[in-house]
């Protein structure tokens, strides 16, 4: 792999952090929705 300039590395880290934050948020929402759905199914 060819070395990348520091600027490009920081850009990639920022971009991945944003995607990871979005995915974590969606995961929390999904877990909440699964919990509610399981509760309604088991009632």
């Amino acid at each position: 792999m060819t070395p990348l300039p520091e600027e490009e590395i920081r850009r990639r880290q920022r971009s991945r952090a944003k995607v990871m934050a979005l995915l974590l948020g969606l995961f929390a929402l999904l877990l909440f929705a699964i919990t509610i759905a399981k509760m309604s199914v088991n009632q």
Binding site: L4, E6, R16, A37, V41
Partner: protein, 303 residues
């Protein structure tokens, strides 16, 4: 907190788009669709959120298997035109990143499936990932021309997982759905391998056209089409699906057989003259989509 300067020895973080490409999104569409159809064809209603979560887990599991496959096969991919642009052979990502991503995604998908659906669906998902990575990728692919015959089972699991997620068990119909994809895989991949034979030969992958020749492969395509068509019609013949599915299965299987006959009759050796093979490959994808869509439509219309 001040950020530390990055030395040249620091690992270069992979672009998230390359991590996404590692999951083979195009292959995933068929996996997701057949998994969803297995879930919708089940005789019990499923809560939409739980159905979404189950299909998401199937997609993530398939993505994990794809990532681990690319991690293991980076050397092969680099030798083939079709795959040389993937993130690992193109040098856009370190191998360790791909391994960590694949293993992490696999564990996450199985745990989430267990949470959202049940133990059986999670267990079959785990088996399907392990089968694709260990049995197909590591064991069979580089050793035998029968690699995709046995390895085809890995792609056949999604409808079984979808059904198990909905019902908590496995019965005759999902096993037939498994058999359809299992028997569909050889003619589908052999049609492709006929016109990309030189790629496989260059990479040293013992695909059937490389080790047994074009004519033998073409005969095998036709040979495997017969049990595949029988498995496709079986759900209707056994009374497990209605006439809508039966009619679609008969029509699509007849078309598949006609295209397979055209492949068997072709004697071309140059990929440019392999129209029948390219047509069969394209149609085979449509075939599987059509068959599974008909199964769900049949259940919804005739229920």
């Amino acid at each position: 907190m001040t950020s530390l300067p990055i030395s040249e020895t620091t690992a270069i973080p992979a672009d998230w788009r390359d991590l996404l490409a590692l999951t083979k999104p195009r292959v995933m569409s068929l996996v997701v669709f057949t998994g969803l159809c297995g879930l919708l064809a089940a005789p019990v209603p499923v809560h939409p959120v739980l159905a979404f979560a189950a299909v998401l887990c199937i997609a993530l599991g398939a993505g994990a298997a794809g990532a681990l496959n690319q991690w293991y096969e980076a050397d092969l991919d680099a030798k083939m035109k079709r795959t040389a642009g993937r993130p690992l052979p193109a040098g856009r990502m370190g191998r360790q990143t791909a391994l960590h991503f694949g293993v992490g995604l696999a564990v996450f998908s199985v745990v989430l499936m267990d949470l959202a659906a049940n133990h059986l669906a999670a267990a079959i998902l785990a088996v399907s990932i392990l089968f694709y990575v260990l049995v197909y990728t590591v064991w069979l692919k580089r050793r035998t021309a029968q690699n995709i015959v046995i390895g085809g089972a890995a792609g056949a699991f999604p409808p079984l997982i979808g059904w198990a997620a909905a019902t908590g068990d496995v019965s005759t119909l999902p096993i037939l759905l498994f058999a359809i994809i299992f028997l569909w895989t050889p003619p589908h991949f052999w049609a492709l391998s006929l016109f990309v034979r030189s790629d496989y030969a260059a990479a040293g992958v013992p695909m059937l056209p490389v080790v047994a020749g074009l004519d033998t492969t073409r005969r095998h395509v036709l040979l495997y089409t017969v049990p595949m068509a029988a498995a496709a019609v079986a759900p209707w013949a056994l009374g497990l699906a209605g006439w809508i599915y039966g009619a679609v299965a008969l029509a699509l299987s007849a078309a598949f057989l006609i295209l397979a006959l055209a492949v068997a009759a072709n004697r071309a050796t140059e990929p440019k003259q392999m129209g029948p093979e390219k047509r069969l490959f394209a149609f085979s994808i449509l075939y599987l989509f059509g068959l599974f869509a008909a199964l769900v439509a049949d259940k919804w219309v005739l229920a």
